[in-house]
């Protein structure tokens, strides 16, 4: 469970489960969220764009290596 402990400038200070505290950029938190609110954080890997970037970066890098 993620709970907003407080807001400090550009950060939301979030408590996770057994009182682990971390900063979350405030722009990732819905505008109406308040101190004490339980928030849902869901993170997904974007496989499509990752694949595209992998190809692009490999190409950029391979152009630079001489061996």
């Amino acid at each position: 469970m993620f709970i907003v402990d407080r807001f400090e400038g550009d950060w939301a200070v979030v408590e996770y489960n057994k009182r682990m505290i971390f900063n979350l950029p405030r722009f990732l938190v819905p505008a109406g969220a308040k101190e004490g609110d339980v928030i849902i954080i869901s993170v997904k890997v974007d496989t499509g764009i990752t694949k595209k970037l992998n190809t692009e970066v490999s190409k950029m890098a391979s152009d630079l290596f001489q061996d």
Binding site: I3, G9, K18
Partner: protein, 290 residues
Amino acid sequence: MRRFILLLLAVLFLVGCSNPLTQKVNTKDKPASPAVSQSQTENLKVHFLDVGQGDSILVQFPNGKNMLVDAGANESASTIINYLNSNGIKKLDYLVGTHPHEDHIGSLDAVINHFEIGEVLMPKATTNTKTFRDVLAAIKNKRLRATTAKAGVSVISDGNLSVDILGPCGDTYESLNNYSAVIKIKYGDVAFLLTGDAEALSEQEILAAGADVRAQVLKVGHHGSESSTSAEFLKAVNSEYAVISVGAGNDYHHPHQVTLNKLRKAGIKVLRTDQIGTIVFSTDGRNIYR
């Protein structure tokens, strides 16, 4: 029109905020009888513990009693407990959680579990974090009850020693910071003002209530954030020292430059826990030593 609105606001504040001198909640602290009163040579000591980004303040009264105001973040439990132990503290006669943010109450449950506790004072404000729920559970498990920290509460009134709560004046705020218990400790001619994270709104309410905020030592509100230490409040407190309890290289850029500039312009000596560690003041009621 603007002037009228300001006047109206001032009147509302005056009505809404109880006079700090009219309410005496605590009856346990009757003046000590001569037989048990401590030697007058005893000093009042105020320790601003270095707990990184957070607050924790130990007050040792001349009558032998102790008060802890806030207990740092979750990770500060051993720092605080070791510090209290090394100062021979067995009992905290008064334990204050200024407001329920993790950087102020994080280790309050550990402190409650480790020491004998007298009276617990907290504002009537709650939050849903496990950190806060654990504090409530610790209070309950020790069969303690809390007293509401709000303007007008007299914690100690014992001859030339007094501890009064000047804020919060209101009972509904958007920011938990403004529920912060603002505490004035006075011994003889020397006063300390501990402001928790009270922001400009609460500062203005305290001034509007006519409270005597003057103090030689000001614990700067909200770790030196620009949200606090409004110009009028700073002027009214008129302190000689400003203590900023703050962690080195914190993510929030505390203390903010705006606040430091205000303090510098006012010619106030700034002492920061991130620069010099734990800060201890001692006073005989006339002079301040550190």
